[in-house]
Symmetry: C2
């Protein structure tokens, strides 16, 4: 569990070095890959399809809870993109079996429990959770896709790599955080909180070989890089990870 929670013990004092904020693209993803730990195709597709549906539902909920119509409109593309990705993954499942829901169903309870844990208690926490957790999960499923057979991996990566529409969340939150130090402090704590649960749910999607030592050796560098990518997302929000 050190891999997952070790970052919580990092010294809180940080020197802020100005850095270019890169466009969110694949260059920000870990250089390692999880190919050895990729599950079978259908469990992979079932999980990633439901994760995208969950992102859609959480964004939709945040749209409904938005204080202004302007905010609803900023968030609408993120809902549309997640729904589109869900439907494209369902189409991938349907190429293989007739009833996509049977492939997805085994994973809904675990993911729903996780969603309840990271939903947050107000609109700002909800938005921060969506941006941070969906970012980690998109990275994770992109890495796992490297181990899928044939052209399935590249097709799944192309779906995940399409625009997320979540840049609007950065705009909304970074403005609010810049204007309110107390909010920034609260969301920084919240951002540190959700990453642990998210890495645990990611870990549950990994196909372990049964050799704990070699599994850990494979997982550790990947999770370390995923946490680094998370830290960059925290930076973009104006938060100390």
């Amino acid at each position: 569990m050190n891999v997952v929670f070790g970052f919580l013990r990092r010294p809180k004092v940080r020197i802020d070095i100005p850095r270019l904020k890169p466009r969110v693209d694949t260059s920000t993803l870990p250089k390692v890959n999880l190919a050895e730990l990729t599950p079978e195709v259908l469990p992979y597709l079932g999980q990633v399809a439901y994760v995208q549906l969950a992102i859609f539902e959480e964004v939709s909920d945040a749209i409904a809870a938005s204080p202004t119509v302007a905010a609803k409109q900023l968030l609408a593309p993120a809902a549309g993109q997640a729904l589109d990705k869900h439907e494209r993954f369902v189409a991938e499942i349907r190429r293989r079996v007739d009833a996509p829901s049977e492939v997805i169903d085994p994973f809904t309870a675990g993911i729903d429990r996780y969603r309840a844990l990271v939903r947050g208690s107000d609109w700002f926490e909800q938005l921060a959770s969506i941006y941070l957790t969906a970012g980690i999960l998109d990275d994770f499923f992109t890495l796992l896709a490297a181990g899928l057979p044939g052209d399935t991996g590249p097709r799944c990566i192309a779906i995940l790599d399409a625009d997320t529409g979540r840049r609007a969340i950065v705009d909304i939150l970074s403005d609010a955080i810049a204007a309110d130090a107390v909010l920034g402090s609260r969301l920084a704590m919240w951002g540190r909180r959700v990453v642990g649960d998210t890495l645990l749910v990611a870990r549950s999607a990994i196909h372990l070989t049964g050799n704990p030592e070699s599994d850990e050796q494979r997982i550790e560098p990947v999770f370390t890089e995923m946490i680094a990518a998370h830290t960059r997302r925290m930076d973009r929000l104006g938060l100390t990870a």
Copy 2:
């Protein structure tokens, strides 16, 4: 108010005559039109844009509340289509002004109050409300569009006329109603309940001339036909209107 609530006093005894169930198309719309009562372009667009956003939010909420993944997938297109229509109406507003939310804002409180009234107390009532009330409102804004200047009317009608994705709601509800007479009886009452509030919110969008008598003469046949279209939707669900 007789126009709005008169249908509640229709005799409940009905002879069921088998009829062809037409595809939902413009031939089922009232033959009358509301051109004389159409508001200015921007208030029209602000209202219809927010109504579509509200439909999106209500469908999204029903997706989140769905008991199965299969049901979520059946409902997803209805959310996607409503969001797309919202965005197309916002694009129409943006052709005219820079800040669409300022055009929409004046109408959100009234429409939100209405939404709370017709939301229903469980998933089935929620689905019935979406199908029935969105159907009435789509008809209504299609009729109003006849009075918009230039090519704005045809463009708005084309947006509203695109697939709603709500056929899945008919499938879900008619199966459930066929299997459970108590549910059918409850939803029939609920369907009669929501139409009154929906016609009231539609009425609030009409530009009245200030001459109550001539206004009523224009409104009455339109609302009578809208109620007839509502009755056909109730039929499709297997409910007595």
